[in-house]
Amino acid sequence: MPRSLGWILIAALILASVSQLERTRRSGRKLASNVIAIVGDLPAVVERIGTPRAGEQEVLPPQVLALAWMLEKHDIGVYRYSDAIAKSPLRSQRLVEAAWPRRPSDDAPYRLSYLSEHYARSPISPECEEIDSLFVPDETLGVSLARCH
């Protein structure tokens, strides 16, 4: 076996690994940028880790924050949401995650919807009474909470 086998092996494997380069490079770059950004802001990161509910503003869409806030404000334990909200998993799933331990249920008397749904079917459906609404900054769709009989 040639003495230079180690070098041949290294060279061949590097060449072979080039086939994987795009993914590993992308992943390595992402890791490096994350580490550099976080280490540069370490005290704030440590503070965020120790703060209840930290990070919600960063990861949740504004409408979801508004919907969850209304549920909390009125201390509603069980709720349902309109078909328009259900059609967008980004909003409906994020709402269920953000609002938990408040649970979604089809039989719940409290119903969340977009304000635009009411404009489209004005006046608001007779069996429901709006108890709160909120215009969401930078969003065309405000949100509403109604109690239905």
Partner: protein
């Protein structure tokens, strides 16, 4: 940060206590171990095993006692006992080893071993830091992490119990039937801290990934093969190990478990068997497909080995093996029973309809073409390139490759075939399923191919080292 660190100590204590009956498993039979293996890698394997045992025992405690509070109190007592026993036996061992006068000729060897150990642990600490920073420093953003793993964790945290009252069944999109090992760890972190936020529960990923990192470092004996395994596997799984999803963890534990089992078969070092079994047990308790992955990777290794030996001979001893298997797979089995009792079902289960669906997709639709496109897009075939290059080199240098490399490559193919059948049999839109999940599910077979490549490179390295030693012998 303190919560995550103390959780590590808690899990270590639990693992040490659970590992007590597994101790005194004898010195390694292979005495031709070099410094990296002798001094440090075995310690890394032991540490990984203790932490994994701790994680599995912690999950078993919550499954049995249901209440997070009660499980943590009982676990803390047990963990304290484990740590006390370990520290006591360490002090006794130190006193005993100090008693006889040390041989002066051994001093340079000891110093060299200590230097290697320091370098090893510095490299490990650096890697662990690079892993911890994005895990704890970024909020829970990934879709599956939010909708599945951390939503389940939030349910357990707010209910304070791992029981139907937590409300799993109320949210079908959270896959309520998925095993709860990861969610339980995250819920416990929030429970101990007393609050929920989008950062701290992600510490569960760190608690799970540190043993995987230790297990990877236990393969450092062949430096070139280790460099390949480390760089390719950890960079390939990429963000899936720090964004709160478990697919990367599953792929890593599958590959590391199979590699440990293959090393156990080759060298009959019991601690490798323990580590392998625990890694595969973690796979089973992480995700539904974990059991299939563990079976696909372990069967091609174990069945030919058992066939060759014609008898079950456990290097651990029959009772210890039974104890290990019971401890490792109990959480998986208990969860399988509990989820049926609680009526938690998957949105897709294999049935005669699945077979019809597979046939329809193959014959009438372009199912196979869609599969091939998606598998190719995510680089399954490209993972074979380093494997084939390494094989070519082995052939050129007339290196004998152990059967583990073939078994691992076969296991990867088998699992990829199972994945293909699952996709074809799924009642959901195939294109949507492939688009949203193939990149993550294919990590497991890709890493298994890397593990097979590792075996080939390690064999070439070993044969190269042996031939150099022979040359030195002849020269002398």
């Amino acid at each position: 940060m303190l919560v995550v660190t103390s959780s590590l100590v808690y899990l270590l204590g639990l693992g040490l206590l659970a590992a007590l009956p597994l101790r005194r498993i004898g010195l390694p039979r292979n005495e031709r171990l070099n410094w990296l293996e002798g001094v440090t890698a075995r310690r890394a394997a032991d540490l990984a095993s203790w932490l994994l045992l701790g994680i599995l025992c912690n999950f078993a405690l919550v499954l049995i006692l249901r209440s997070l509070q009660l499980a943590l109190v009982v676990g803390t007592v047990l963990s304290g006992a484990g740590l006390a026993i370990a520290v006591g036996s360490w002090i006794r061992r130190k006193r005993r080893s100090r008693a006889p006068g040390s041989d002066a000729t051994e001093e340079p060897i000891r110093r060299r071993a200590a230097a290697v150990a320091v370098l090893f642990w510095i490299a490990f600490a650096f890697s662990a830091f690079a892993l911890a920073i994005p895990i704890l420093g970024t909020p829970i953003r990934a879709w599956d992490a939010r909708s599945i793993w951390f939503l389940q964790a939030k349910m357990i945290y707010y209910a304070g119990v791992l029981a139907p009252e937590a409300g799993f069944a109320a949210v079908p999109f959270s896959h309520p039937e998925y095993p709860k090992l990861f969610a339980t760890l995250a819920a416990e972190l929030a429970h101990v801290s007393g609050y929920w936020n989008e950062y701290l529960p992600k510490g569960a990923s760190l608690l799970l990934m540190l043993p995987a990192l230790l297990a990877t470092f236990s393969f450092v004996r062949r430096p070139l093969a280790f460099a390949f395994l480390f760089a390719m596997s950890w960079l390939r799984v990429g963000s899936t190990v720090w964004n709160g999803t478990v697919d990367g963890s599953l792929a890593l534990f599958g590959a590391l478990g199979a590699l440990s089992v293959s090393r156990w078969i080759a060298e009959e070092e019991p601690r490798d068997g323990v580590l392998g079994v625990l890694c595969l047990a973690i796979c089973c308790a992480l995700k539904n497909e974990g059991f299939v992955l563990a079976a696909c990777l372990a069967a091609p290794l174990l069945i030919p080995w058992l066939w060759r030996r014609r008898a079950l001979r456990w290097s651990l001893g029959a009772w210890r093996s039974a104890y290990l298997a019971a401890l490792a797979f109990a959480p998986f089995l208990v969860w399988e029973i509990q989820k049926r009792r609680w009526g938690l079902h998957a949105d897709y289960e294999v049935s005669p309809d699945s077979l019809r669906q597979i046939a329809t997709r193959i014959v009438e639709q372009d199912g196979l073409a869609q599969l091939a496109t998606a598998f190719g897009k995510h680089g399954l075939h490209l993972a074979a390139v380093p494997f084939l290059v390494a094989l070519g080199l082995a052939l050129a240098t007339r290196t004998r490759i152990g059967f583990a490399a073939w078994a691992l490559a076969g296991g990867a193919l088998l699992y990829a075939a199972v994945l293909a059948l699952v996709y074809l049999g799924s009642p959901f839109d195939l294109a949507w399923q492939l688009r949203t999940s193939a990149g993550r599910t294919l990590l497991a077979p890709i890493l298994a191919v890397y593990a097979a490549t590792f075996c080939v490179i390690a064999a070439i390295e070993e044969s190269h080292t042996a031939s150099r030693l022979r040359a030195i012998d002849i020269a002398n």
